[in-house]
């Protein structure tokens, strides 16, 4: 920080300017970057959703009549890739960017320029991925996990093909994620406000920290696998190519060593959102806060030793199946602890059913359902039976579209007044919530009976006996598409002309609610001195010290560090 900007930060600042141009600039303000992430991710979410709706349109009849089979392969590959690498990761990075410095009482992230660079990689690799629709041969068709030897086929023979562009995009996504993870971990470790010990930190920050630690340990393994796959594809090495003596199973290990924990990277911050939202609207402290916080770290540890459960049907030896079956079941313990804590938090509370709360409740219930099918899938005999069927598709969509997307919506509604300084329209919000919840259950619930009956995933045509459930699922898919319309309408109109939001519209406790809406540049005129834990609902204990004789916070900060 230069001297001039240090002085500037002490000047009273008006709310962040309503100047939309700053969102198209290389801004280093974590709040601008957070919104840039969120909006960019949402655009890709709409695109990925559009691809899914074409797929559901194809599946509404048993025959492959709407699109060609190879196009269908490209559709599910790009749908999965976009939803994971371009929607959920940037979206949670956006939330973490916006909220973590505010919640821990910091003026910005530790490395603002690195932060901006990490964000601007997102549109770059997004465009690369979308461009792969236009290269000869079309986009990658090997599914979002790109298993060799399918991913090594390269029918066009070109160096620039759908698969190599896919690998390039995923590699850039990895670079961006590592930059973000280094930044967020450093920020949480080093920049907490004076007095904010580990157990005074909001649960959201705990979950973000746990998630980003997974990125740091897991993502390099995927990078290693992707580099080797790219070399196989382009220069003809033999790492994963079985025809040349390579080992395609090893790629699966590399891939899932990261991509299973990636699920926790996505879902942990959503657990954090639930832990933030429930206490506010139930007016009760988060039940078992310390246990909830620590269980995030336990999930981080366990998530790194469960990946083989994706490979029960890959010729995995029996002892390995057994081992990973146990670890997979074990990870449901810390997760279950969280679910119990949330239920205990809302139990007997005086619930205010705002849109944010409704989305969180919906997300919790779909997550519970996903958890139950998850335990079923953890058991190797059952998993081998339903491997690569729609049961698996239904299960993970209940996690990712049920819990995660509803959790994202909960977060957006909950912090929308803080981010924009405007209130959203509750009526439209509740309509959005109802359509989303019905849509999710209508599309993904029928996938479970379909999978149990044996319908394989990733096929464009199917036996007519599966038609009934598929029609239902397709209708749900279209409903889910429609459900985004009231959301977009609500967000745009509220941002432009919504009622001005007070600093703390939900009477929530937290450092982010002590500053104006939207927060000023550099957030805090003077760094707050935290004296209480994060969920003091029902007590009169103040969160920050308001003793006028306190030491200047910079001095305290030095003693603190």
């Amino acid at each position: 920080m230069s001297n001039a900007s240090a002085v500037a930060s002490l000047q009273p600042q008006p709310g962040a300017p309503d100047n939309w141009r700053r969102f198209f600039s290389f801004s280093t303000d974590h709040k601008v970057i957070g919104i840039q992430y969120i909006v960019t991710a949402f655009v890709f979410f709409l695109f990925g959703g559009l691809l899914a709706m074409v797929m559901r349109g194809e599946l509404i009849t048993p025959d492959a009549d709407l699109v060609d089979r190879t196009v269908y392969n490209g559709l599910f590959t790009m749908h999965g890739t976009i939803m994971l690498f371009m929607w959920t990761f940037p979206m949670l990075n956006g939330l973490a960017n916006y909220l973590v410095p505010l919640q821990i009482g910091a003026r910005d992230m530790a490395f603002p320029r690195l932060n901006a660079a990490a964000f601007w990689l997102v549109p770059v690799f997004g465009v690369i991925l979308v461009l792969s629709f236009f290269v000869p041969g079309g986009p990658s068709q090997s599914g979002w996990w790109a298993y060799p030897p399918v991913s090594l086929q390269n029918p066009t023979g070109n160096l620039i093909n759908g698969q190599s562009l896919w690998l390039l995009a995923v590699a850039l996504s990895g670079v961006s994620s590592i930059m973000g993870a280094v930044n967020i971990v450093t920020t949480i470790f080093r920049m907490r406000a004076p007095g904010m010990g580990w157990f005074k930190m909001p649960a959201f920050c705990w979950t973000v920290l746990s998630a980003q630690m997974i990125q740091l340990v897991g993502l390099p393994a995927l990078t290693a696998g992707a580099v080797m796959l790219l070399l196989d594809l382009t220069v003809g090495t033999s790492f994963f190519n079985p025809e040349l003596g390579g080992d395609p199973i090893l790629y699966q290990h590399f891939f899932w060593f990261y991509s299973h924990p990636a699920v926790y990277v996505i879902v942990l911050p959503i657990f954090g959102v639930f832990s933030e939202v429930f206490p506010v609207y139930a007016r009760k402290p988060l039940f078992g806060y310390k246990v909830v916080a620590i269980s995030s770290l336990i999930i981080t540890g366990l998530s790194l030793i469960v990946w083989v459960h994706h490979m029960f049907a890959s010729g995995t030896p029996g002892w390995m199946r057994m081992l990973f079956m146990f670890t997979t079941m074990a990870i449901s313990v810390p997760t279950g602890i969280k679910v119990f804590a949330w239920v205990a938090t809302i139990w007997g509370g005086k619930l205010r059913l705002t849109t944010g709360m409704l989305f969180a409740l919906g997300g919790l219930s779909t997550f519970l359902f996903a958890g139950i099918t998850g335990i079923m899938l953890a058991s190797a005999p059952f998993d081998i039976h339903v491997n690569n069927t729609y049961f698996v598709v239904g299960h993970f969509h209940y996690v990712i579209n049920g819990a995660v997307v509803m959790g994202f919506y909960a977060a957006i509604y909950h912090w929308f007044p803080k981010m924009t300084g405007r209130m959203y329209y509750e009526g439209l919000g509740k309509l959005h919530c109802a359509l989303t919840f019905i849509g999710i259950n209508l599309i993904f619930l029928p996938m479970h009976p379909l999978g149990l009956q044996g319908m394989p995933r990733r096929v464009a045509s199917y036996d007519p006996e599966f038609a009934f459930w598929n029609v239902l699922a397709s209708l749900g898919g279209f409903l889910l598409g429609v459900s985004t319309l009231p959301f977009i309408l609500n967000m745009l109109s509220s941002w432009v002309q919504g009622k001005a939001a007070p600093d703390n519209p939900w009477r929530a406790i937290g450092l982010e609610w002590l500053v104006s809406s939207p927060p000023p540049h550099e957030n805090f005129e003077q760094l707050p001195v935290v004296v209480a834990g994060p969920y003091g609902y029902g007590s009169d204990e103040p969160l920050v010290s308001n003793d006028p004789n306190q030491k200047p916070t910079e001095e305290l900060a030095r003693e603190h560090s």
Binding site: M1, S2, N3, A6, V7, L10, P12, A110, F111, L114, I178, A181, V182, N183, V185, T186, F189, R190, M191, L216, V217, G218, L219, P220, A221, T223, A224, G225, V227, M228, L231, V235, G236, T237, S238, F239, L244, G245, G246, D247, L250, F254, F257, F524, E525, Q526, P528, P548, P552, E554, A557, R558, S561
Partner: protein, 201 residues
């Protein structure tokens, strides 16, 4: 919140403190990054071990094994350079710029020698990167490590150039400290790599 510390002199002190603080963050962040980077190497090592213990034809046809003598010399040079760079850093702490430059340059020379030795070895080998799993993993591991050595030498070059700018190392020495840490990291990786590829044949 009070505006008690609008006094400009205090601001200067705060800004100075913030700069140091930021420096600490950078070192912390860099260590986090290196830990993450080490997992890429770890993944390659695991791949190497899996291939070596499971492949049907490990060495390319007609190839008996790697020569160890020259790589051992290379190893000794690279490992010693870690000590040399440590002394360079010590000189900088004592504000002896010429001592720093001399030892820093010596480190760069040793790193370049290592790269040269690596290139000579590569050119003398009878197999290429498409020759089976050993060919692929050998060039992948040594090449990826070599890229890191090259990065280290280039970073050292930048730091050496910066030492000629007036007062550049008056405040913090983050660039030097992180380059040096990176160099130790590259060294440790090489020791593991040497044991895996050359000792365990």
């Amino acid at each position: 919140m009070s505006t008690a510390n609008l006094d400009p002199s205090l601001d200067a002190a705060t800004a100075h403190g913030a700069e140091h603080e930021e420096e600490d963050h950078r070192m912390f962040g860099f260590i986090v990054f290196l830990l993450s980077e080490s997992v890429i190497f770890l993944s390659f090592f695991v791949g190497y071990i899996v291939y070596k213990t499971s492949a049907a034809d490990w060495f390319p046809a007609g190839f008996e094994g790697l020569e160890v003598r020259e790589p051992l010399i290379n190893t000794v040079v690279l490992v010693s350079s870690s000590f040399v760079i440590y002394f360079a850093e010590r000189f900088l702490h004592k504000e002896n710029l010429w001592g720093f430059r001399a030892f820093w340059l010596l480190t760069m020379a040793m790193g370049s020698f290592f790269l040269y030795g690596q290139a000579v070895e590569w050119m003398g080998l009878p197999f290429g990167f498409t020759d089976g799993l050993f060919g692929g993993t050998f060039y992948l591991l040594t090449g990826f490590h070599g890229l890191h050595v090259l990065t280290g030498v280039l970073l050292q070059g930048i730091m050496l150039g910066r030492s000629f700018l007036p007062n550049n190392y008056a405040g913090g020495e983050f660039g030097v400290a992180s380059t040096s840490l990176f160099w130790h990291f590259v060294d440790v990786i090489w020791i593991v790599l040497f044991i895996l590829i050359y000792v365990w044949q």
